[in-house]
């Protein structure tokens, strides 16, 4: 289990990125959901030993990730939000390099590991291609392959599907779901709600540097059962609805607005039909609360 206690971080510019973050992350896939600028990447960087917090502690298997950086790095696999590779190296050379940095020195073992990783991320046919010519999806898959070297106990994946097309995203979801080991902690930071709902057994929502909720997605959905309604309205009707109940989301559709509202006790109007709540509804509900 990963335990985060009272983590604070303020940048030199004065931006208070993390405010007293406390979180317990059990083994399995854990989603950290939040809008852009919420502090997700700052938290991920601290966990990945790349950034020093102002205060607080992070523990994993009796290791203090803040003070015992080398030990922390031994158990860490990290896929950052923005990253690059040496463009003149091939996929195979890149993985060999990271495997050697991780401490896999025996050539035979390394070869079999690199082969298995390339197969796992479906890059065997591109193994001798230079990484500089890879598409975004291929780079992301190579990124996850390097993060899996050495069977990390803590796998940190920061916004892995941002910028990927739907097909690559589906492929990446499957890849992540298949790769995590039962005993390891996979921390997936994202602003895409479907990433969390598709993959994670537990999640937390972060906003303006604070954790505003932490629960299982099923529990979150249970909270909104029989409370979410949908209707297609004109702009004028929306103002009337807003005064009666809480608007979750609105979307233009054929010149009308398709709106979702939360109303726990009664139907907001005749135009409304009850719908199954989603994590997105839970997220919007929470964000508007906070």
């Amino acid at each position: 289990m990963l335990a985060i206690e009272g983590l604070n971080k303020t940048y030199q510019s004065g931006v208070h990125a993390l405010r007293d973050i406390c979180l317990e992350v059990p083994a399995g896939m854990f989603g950290l959901l939040g809008p852009n600028g919420a502090g997700k990447t700052t938290l991920m960087k601290i966990l990945a030993t790349l950034l020093e917090p102002d205060s607080g502690a992070v523990r994993m298997c009796d290791t203090d990730l803040i003070s015992e950086k080398h030990r922390a790095r031994m158990m860490l696999g990290y896929l950052p939000q923005d990253f690059g590779f040496y463009p003149s190296l091939t996929a195979e050379q890149t993985l060999h390099y990271f495997a050697r940095l991780k401490g896999v020195h025996k050539r035979k073992e390394r070869n079999s590991l690199v082969n298995a990783l390339l197969e796992r991320v479906n890059l065997e046919s591109a193994r001798r291609q230079k990484v500089g010519g890879f598409s975004g999806g291929m780079r992301q898959r190579l990124g996850i392959a390097q993060a899996l070297i050495g069977k990390p106990a803590l796998l940190i994946v920061d916004e892995p599907t941002a910028g990927l097309d739907p097909e690559e995203r589906a492929r990446f979801h499957n890849l992540l779901a298949e790769t995590f080991a039962e005993e390891s902690v996979v921390l997936l930071s994202t602003h895409i709600v479907s990433d969390v709902s598709n993959l994670c057994s537990n999640m937390a929502i972060i906003r303006q540097g604070k954790i505003i909720a932490s629960c299982a997605p099923s529990h979150a959905l249970k909270e909104l059962t029989d409370s979410v309604w949908e209707a297609t309205l004109t702009r004028e009707q929306i103002d009337a609805v807003k005064s009666g109940c809480k608007l979750l989301s609105s979307q233009m559709y054929n010149g009308m607005m398709r709106v979702r509202v939360v109303s726990p006790r009664e139907r907001p109007g005749e135009e409304f039909t009850q719908v199954t709540p989603t994590i997105e509804d839970y997220y919007f509900n929470l964000v508007s609360h906070s």
Binding site: E52, D54, P80, G84, K102, G103, E119, M138
Partner: protein, 570 residues
């Protein structure tokens, strides 16, 4: 009327100028050109002979030689990739989706880069121009301040010559989309131009020689040897352009225009087609075609992830042995990355050529031993290149991970900081050693070919062990320390140039003590390395320098941005 500053041409031109201003090459060129002018002024052939350095004959005589020396390499470096850069950054399609014609685009690119090139080259005449107000013992300056001759002759003798060369390099780079071909042509410039002179021009009548000489090296031949003139007559000479020179320049301008027209006609916006692979003729019924398109490497759009089990591997426990093996791995990659630096293709051959030029083309006086004289010459000539290469490539190696955004991946690996730092330090050192070995080997071969025997390997080893290798270690360590401390590569270059320039100025003023002369510049002779008191002094100095290098490396390790242990919390 259309405002010329609001045209598409000016937009492309301006952007190209701005892009070039973010490169190192124009500044290095301007610095070298300014230094070159300073040498011509204070230490050149005019010194002590009463020839005025601001006389028209001196200016017009110096410029063709200046246009010939080292400038063609910079022309190749700057003109090679204006178009390649856009295609590499995949910005080409964005530009061509706007109403910008091919001609406007190509001319904007060409003249934008050429403008920067010309500005860098102009550092020479600007420095000479400014030096009119300075005096130095032995240097004569006419009272009357000259303005027009500097810029007029620069335009005629340098700019037009390099316009042809620039058009040629630009054409090769744009049409081949391969900058390395241009760099190779830049390196081959001297053998090609010398061969052109010897095998073609020398067989022609004098007037044709003058018309077809692109760099105007033979322009003064017709008027006899100006060096036989008295200083007074030389200083009063007025330089006029005769018809042959005017024809020469007109021909050069026409050639440049012709080359640019050819580029316009052959330039295509799309990526060049893939190489066609020819099939083997065999008895198969499918071999009716003589060529086939290469197979497209499709990745199947299957969403299923294969359940390939990852093998269990042994991960080395933390310790010195494991860290050393990681250092070897990182060093191998760093060295490979350094070798793939495009600038190395130009800089190493240039350094080798200029360091060995003296022993190849001039007579070496071996008073005691020829080997000692040869190795002493190359050791002196190598100083500047060792400084430049160490500072530049250590800076590049330390900055590369940040530029490529690979830092978060590498820094989150379980590797000690010394692995990251030393791999870059040692890789640069290996490049410098490669330069030292190449230059040494060429000097040995030259000595053998010129029959300057006997050949003594120990003479070479002495100079290398006592002087060159400790200098290389010190320079790489100092460059690494500066880069780690200042964090910014350009700031490092500026600081290094400032410190180096200041020290060399001090040495030239006579303040040359071994305490603050880590390279032993002008403080050793070959005889000092043989034995006795002088050798023990040099040994002490080398130990002193290596200790400083060690301290600098330790400080770099201490100040390195990546933290391995808990750092002070605010």
């Amino acid at each position: 009327m259309v405002n010329p500053f609001h045209t598409s041409f000016f937009a492309v031109f301006r952007t190209e100028v701005l892009l070039n201003l973010r490169r190192v090459a124009p500044y290095v060129m301007a610095l070298l050109c300014g230094g070159n002018a300073l040498l011509w002024w204070g230490w050149g052939p005019a010194k002590g002979r009463g020839l005025a350095t601001n006389s028209e004959a001196f200016i017009a005589g110096v410029l063709p030689i200046y246009a010939f020396m080292t400038l063609p390499l910079f022309t190749a470096v700057i003109m090679a990739d204006p178009v390649i850069r856009d295609f590499r950054a995949e910005i080409g399609p964005l530009i061509f989706s706007k109403p910008v014609g091919r001609a406007i685009y190509l001319l904007g690119k060409f003249f934008g880069s050429f403008f920067v090139l010309a500005c860098g080259q102009a550092a020479f005449v600007v420095t000479l121009f400014v030096l009119q107000w300075f005096s130095r013992p032995g240097v004569t300056t006419l009272q009357e301040v000259k303005v027009v001759p500097y810029f007029k002759h620069f335009l005629v003798f340098v700019i037009i010559s390099h316009l042809v060369l620039a058009a040629f390099y630009f054409a090769v780079g744009t049409l081949s989309r391969n900058a390395k071909i241009v760099y190779a042509l830049g390196v081959c410039f001297y053998p090609l131009i010398i061969s052109y002179n010897i095998f073609f021009l020398n067989g022609l009548p004098l007037s044709w020689r003058r018309i077809l000489d692109p760099l105007l090296m033979r322009w003064a031949q017709k008027d006899g040897d100006v060096h036989t003139l008295s200083a007074e007559a030389f200083n009063q000479l007025v330089v006029t352009y005769d018809s042959e020179l005017i024809i020469n320049r007109a021909v050069m301008l026409l050639i440049a225009a012709g080359i640019l027209t050819m580029v316009y006609r052959r330039f295509i916006i799309a990526e060049p087609p893939q190489k066609i692979h020819f099939s083997f003729i065999n008895l198969s019924t499918a071999s009716e075609r003589i060529s086939f398109e290469p197979e497209i490497n499709w990745i199947e759009p299957d969403h299923e992830v294969r359940r390939t089990p990852l093998p269990i591997v042994n991960v080395a426990a933390p310790g010195i042995r494991g860290s050393l093996r990681k250092l070897v791995a990182a060093l191998a990659i760093e060295f490979r990355l350094l070798l793939s630096e495009r600038s190395l293709v130009v800089i190493i051959p240039l350094a080798v050529v200029l360091s060995t030029m003296e022993v190849i083309f001039w007579r070496v006086r071996g008073d005691g031993s020829y080997s000692a004289a040869y190795v002493s010459h190359i050791a002196q000539n190598l100083v500047l290149f060792m400084i430049g290469i160490s500072i530049f490539y250590v800076g590049e190696a330390l900055q590369r991970d940040r530029d490529l955004n690979i830092e978060p991946l590498v820094w989150s690996q379980p590797i000690p900081n010394f692995v990251l730092l030393f791999s870059k330090f040692l890789a640069t050192l290996l490049v410098v050693f490669a330069l030292l070995i190449s230059v040494g080997l060429i000097a040995m071969v030259t000595q053998a070919l010129k029959g300057n025997g006997p050949f003594e390997l120990t003479a070479y080893l002495r100079v290398y062990i006592w002087i060159l290798i400790p200098n290389a270690i010190f320079l790489s360590a100092a460059a690494m320390f500066l880069k780690v401390l200042l964090r910014d590569r350009y700031l490092t270059y500026i600081a290094a140039i400032g410190i180096g320039g200041g020290l060399f100025y001090l040495y030239s003023q006579g303040h040359n003590g071994w305490l603050y002369n880590p390279l032993l510049f002008r403080l050793w002779k070959y005889e000092d390395l043989l034995s006795g008191n002088n050798l023990s002094q040099i040994a002490q100095h080398r130990a002193y320098v290596l200790v400083i290098a060690l301290v600098l490396v330790a400080l770099a390790h201490l100040f390195y941005e990546r933290r391995s242990t808990l750092w002070v919390r605010s």
